[in-house]
Amino acid sequence: MSDSTNHENHENHGNAFVAWVNGEPKPEVEKKEPKPKVKKQKKPFDSAEAYAKFHKLYKPACVILCLAFIAVLVYVSIKTPLFGVTDAPTNNEVAAKYIEEGLEDTGATNIVAGMILDYRAFDTLGESTVLFTAVMAVIILLKVDKDKKKKQDMSAAELKEEAILQHEEELNDKHRDVILKKTAGVIAPFILMFGIYVVLNGHISPGGGFSGGAIIGAGLILISQAFGSKITKRFFNFKVFTIITSGALLTYAALKTYSFYTGAHHMETGIPKGIAGAILSGGFILPLNICVGLIVACTMFGFYSLFSKGEI
């Protein structure tokens, strides 16, 4: 039966085709009914199975990615010029100018300080701003809000945790490590003094604002860790922190953006360079070093303080 109908259909089609060739309008071809799609039954999401699948792929993917990165890095490092080669592209006229005329231009015996705080002082301003921004972000994230911290609002778990923390702090205050206390009492003044020396001699000897500031900050952390935060709070609270950090940054900006007002040749503005090698020499490098050192020291200690207690 079906055979015969098929045959008829075929014949009909044949006739229609002949008629179309002879000039009749195009016959409507029977639309084929779309096959009813067999819907694949979705498996319910099985987290364990997915995890197993992921875990199977994870290690090979890791190894392949790592090998690819290592290959790229090794390839690049083979292509770079060797360490200390004289005809490397970095040894161009810029470095030559810095080395030959750096002392004359900046008045700093330490050419690195002359570079980062005179030729490229604007970059260092950006770096200090980055540190400042980082501290602000940490303050936003970690500083405990005293207004919100009322005992009624806190849940039982939070209250318990705070009680434990307070208890721990009291215990720490009572039984501070004797070895740490004695050692810190001896070496902390020297650490602070060395940090101040590095900051003040940044334009004469190796070092400068960043290294000196980091050393001072580490010394402050040591004092705070050894003798408790009450000692450091006497001279360093949040208000002092804010004033020092923003004041140092503003001073830096005021000292160094004068080239915006005097034009690009800010080397010749009549600031005395002093005798090379003396403490008071190098134009603005000494005050700039002090500013950077203050910012870095405050940042380091602020990080520590905010991380450990949630306040400065």
Partner: protein, 100 residues
């Protein structure tokens, strides 16, 4: 060619690689931070060999000092420094409450 300084630098550089791999492989977080710290110390020695003492000082103060202190504080905050002590303390505090 192979004078003492070159050999020493090679030893230090290989130590750096070992440290870098060990930091990722070690399971104990406290040990990881300690290895990270030693990496910074060795790096600061290498800076001295490369004739940049200012960088050496910064590396020692920031890398070995401040960064690891921050890591230690975070480990203490999340209770990963030594779990046995923490559990014991919790137990003690609970017992104290019971007594009260």
């Amino acid at each position: 060619m192979f004078d003492a300084q070159t050999i020493l630098i090679w030893i230090l550089l290989s130590f750096l690689i070992v440290c870098a791999i060990a930091t990722t492989v070690t399971k104990n977080l406290l040990v990881t931070v300690l290895i990270f710290m030693s990496y910074s110390v060795v790096m600061s020695v290498i800076w001295i060999f490369l004739e940049s003492p200012d960088l050496a000082g910064t590396e020692a103060a920031v890398g070995a000092g401040v960064t690891s202190i921050l890591f230690f504080i975070v480990l203490k905050k999340i209770g990963a420094l030594d779990t046995s002590k923490r559990k014991k303390k919790d137990k003690d505090s609970k017992e104290g409450e019971d007594n009260e």
